[in-house]
């Protein structure tokens, strides 16, 4: 589904190179996890895939179902089925959470040539999905992410994902800042979305999340590259021994 080949990325305004040849393939229906030390380039990879400004791709490609992502505008990538749950969700003062969601859902439907959801239908679906994530009506009325706790912001990202039903979901440290119960809610949210036609790329530092969302493949990223790929046992190894051995192996 997602195929990243030899991706090289540097910052637009200085010469700092962040991704130094990332190769990664995520198949439909699978869950891949990426772990790696702070600053290794995980968030950068997720931003570049979703089209954030400020990066320059110097080499390589990234395709979603064979279509080149890197040429598209961010909203086109979203309409093509890519979703990023942000490591740091953005606050938008004055814009109701509900309004934001409805605007997003209908923008994507329109871009795909589908009919928009009526206000009534939309409300029904949103209420149901919000309830599953323990997001109350009050939170839906508040401005997007403004004054939300860390955990509430992350749950809100998952709600957006549930509403947008993307096919390729990237979760950037969605587990950080979550208490044990919220972690379970988020994991349940993700598991409920798992299906044949959908794939996940879960960026995390901890095994805990992977206890709930069982990955098929685990990648280790260091210094802008995937240095090792393995099964779920790789995450356990990191949990127990840190990255020192893995990094030493490469050198």
């Amino acid at each position: 589904m997602l195929e990243i080949k030899n991706l090289h990325v540097k910052l637009e305004e200085d010469d700092k190179v962040i991704l130094k040849g990332v190769d990664l393939t995520v198949e439909a229906g699978k869950v891949h996890a990426i772990m790696g030390p702070n600053g290794s380039g995980k968030s950068t990879l997720s931003y570049v895939l979703s089209g954030r400004d400020g990066y320059e791709v110097t080499d390589g490609s990234a395709t979603l179902d064979g279509v080149e992502l890197l040429e598209m505008e961010p909203e086109e990538r979203a309409a093509a089925g890519l979703f990023l749950a942000f490591q740091y969700p953005v606050e938008i003062p004055g814009v109701g959470n509900m309004t934001f969601l409805r605007t997003a859902v209908n923008a994507q439907r329109k871009a795909r040539g589908e009919a928009e959801l009526s206000a009534g239908d939309f409300l029904k679906i949103v209420r149901e999905k919000a309830k599953a994530l323990k997001i109350d009506a009050e939170m839906m009325k508040r401005p997007v992410n403004v004054g939300f706790s860390g955990g509430e912001k992350k749950r809100n990202e998952i709600l957006q994902m549930a509403m947008l039903e993307p096919k390729m979901c990237i979760l950037d440290e969605t587990d950080s800042g979550l208490d044990v119960d919220a972690m379970k809610l988020v994991a349940d949210g993700v598991n409920a979305l798992r299906s044949e036609g959908r794939a996940f790329l879960v960026i995390t530092h901890y095994q805990r999340l992977l206890d709930h969302i069982k990955p098929d493949v685990v990648h280790i990223m260091a210094d802008g590259r995937i240095i090792k790929t393995g099964g779920p046992e790789l995450a356990l190894e990191v949990e127990n021994n840190g990255y020192a051995n893995l990094l030493a192996e490469v050198q």
Partner: protein
């Protein structure tokens, strides 16, 4: 769109959606830029005593009114155009324009809207005044309409007609054109006209005193809650013609009215002058809400054409516990010079000012308010949201004064500016004078740029760039949009977005 809403917030959410749909449906920019092909009768070009006499005569005015105009004209000739605002425009040639333009068909003095030239009625329909208003305008009362809005339709220099006059009259409310009021209710007009904005007030107000041709008059008797919203819709159609309207609202003790004002003009290459005066008198325990959506033609991308809008609006909270609330959405005009003000004379009177001023392309806006605290325990609140895009310059200019006798008074001012792009400017010029020890003035100001992270966040969820900007800007203005009556809120939200078209990318 069949909203199954459960509460106000969700209705508002629906409004937001509608905004975005409206914006997307709209290909062009200024949507009211067409003109009505109609035979127009002009007074001779230029300005002199004869023109003043002619306007007075056309309106069938009594002698006192003519004398008042002539006195104003004499004064105006000795005055100088103010230049303190942060506005840059070429000298206005006051002799090179018309001061009176009237559709020929109005000569017959139609007694009701049924007799009005269908072309004129069609103009208002096309202006996108909501259809129900249109029905109301045509004098048809839709039985299942939850809300009624009475309309006074002013076309160039004359009022074409006013709806719901009879129903209002039953409630004791007078709502008619000012020219009619001068003829029919001379005592009321004479008592209050010029009592809030004196003839000598400022260059543009004095000019208005001399040459105003029409406008609206509202009188709400003691203890009366006006049974419907009142509105005036101003349309400039004729070329090279200034519009000088005069509005006078009197709210007697314990009364209440909500009044709306809308305005548009065709696209023209030349600038057109609009110099209005609005006076509001509010007595004990009365409350007036005055909302404006100003959508005059703003000129093209290069600053060619557009309305020069020099307006004096003032409310005099004369009575104890009286209240006024100004809400304005300023999106149009090439030049905006406008400071709706509150004179808080009565004890415990309150003034509020909510404003959104958007300037795009070559537009210049210098707008704000004056809160003059004269009485004890008076309160005022100012919320101003300025948005600049393109090469536009947007200035908030506000004056808050607490007089020695205005003990224990309070003002709170919040003034936020948002910049889109890096060629525009935002300026905040607050003047504060506190002349007693028990009053307090608070002022907060922020200036920010549209945040790239917010735009990226929206776009990563599927919205295109313009939609994302519209959403973020609407969020920025939320507080003010919510102060508007529902119908206006919708129009205003879409205007916010339309005014910003082409400001990104």
């Amino acid at each position: 769109m069949g909203l199954e809403t459960e509460d106000q917030i969700e209705v508002r959410d629906g409004v937001d959606r509608e905004t975005i749909e409206t914006v997307q449906a709209m290909a062009g920019k200024y949507k009211h830029g067409w003109e009505t092909e109609i035979e127009t009768e002009y007074a001779p070009k230029g300005l002199n005593e004869d023109i003043v006499r002619l306007i007075s005569e056309k309106n069938g005015e009594p002698q006192w009114m003519l004398d008042w105009r002539l006195a104003a004209f004499a004064r105006w000739q000795k005055m100088e155009e103010p230049r303190w605002a942060m506005l840059n425009y070429p000298e206005i040639d006051y002799q090179d324009q018309y001061y009176y333009a009237k559709p020929k068909s109005m000569d017959a003095k139609p007694k009701s809207l049924d007799e009005v030239d269908p072309k004129l009625l069609a103009t208002y329909e096309k202006l996108g005044i909501p259809l129900k208003e249109q029905m109301l305008l045509a004098g048809v009362e839709g039985s299942d309409e939850p809300r009624k809005v009475a309309v006074d339709a002013v076309f160039d220099s004359v009022s074409v007609g006013t709806t719901f006059k009879e129903e209002l009259r039953k409630a004791g409310v007078i709502f008619c054109s000012i020219s009619e009021a001068i003829r029919e209710y001379p005592d009321l007009v004479q008592k209050y006209l010029g009592s809030v904005v004196p003839q000598s007030d400022n260059f543009f107000a004095t000019l208005n005193c001399a040459v105003f041709s029409d406008g609206s008059f509202v009188y709400i008797p003691e203890g009366t809650r006006c049974p419907m919203e009142l509105s005036t819709y101003f349309r400039i159609n004729a070329e090279n013609t200034g519009q000088f309207e005069r509005t006078l609202i009197v709210a007697e003790k314990g009364s209440y009215v909500s009044y709306l004002e809308g305005c548009t003009a065709p696209k023209r290459d030349t600038h057109q002058l609009h110099a209005a005066v609005v006076e509001i008198v509010i007595l004990d325990d009365a409350e007036v809400k005055y909302s404006t959506v100003q959508n005059w033609y703003p000129g093209d991308e290069d600053g060619k054409g557009g309305i020069y809008n020099f307006v004096t609006k003032r409310a005099d909270c004369r009575g104890a516990r009286s209240k006024v609330m100004w809400t304005q959405v300023e999106t149009g005009s090439a030049i905006t010079w406008k400071y709706p003000s509150c004179i808080l004379r009565g004890e415990e009177s309150q003034g509020e000012f909510y404003s959104i001023a958007i300037a795009n392309n070559a537009q210049q806006a210098d707008t704000g308010t004056k809160m003059v605290h004269l009485g004890k325990n008076t309160k005022s609140r100012i919320v101003s949201k300025g948005i600049s895009a393109g090469r536009a310059q947007n200035t908030y200019r506000g004056l808050v004064t607490m007089h020695p006798k205005a003990l224990n008074s309070r003002n709170y001012t919040q003034c936020d500016s948002l910049l889109i792009g890096d060629k525009c400017g935002a300026h905040t010029v607050p003047y504060i004078e506190v002349k007693n020890n028990s009053s307090r003035v608070e002022h907060e100001a922020t200036t920010s740029k549209v945040d790239d992270d917010q735009l990226f966040y929206c776009r990563s969820r599927g919205m295109d760039e313009e939609e994302a900007v519209a959403l973020v800007v609407n969020g920025f203005c939320k507080e003010v949009l919510q102060a508007l009556p529902m119908e206006f809120a919708m129009e205003a939200q879409s205007l916010v977005a339309i005014s910003l078209e082409g400001s990104v990318g």
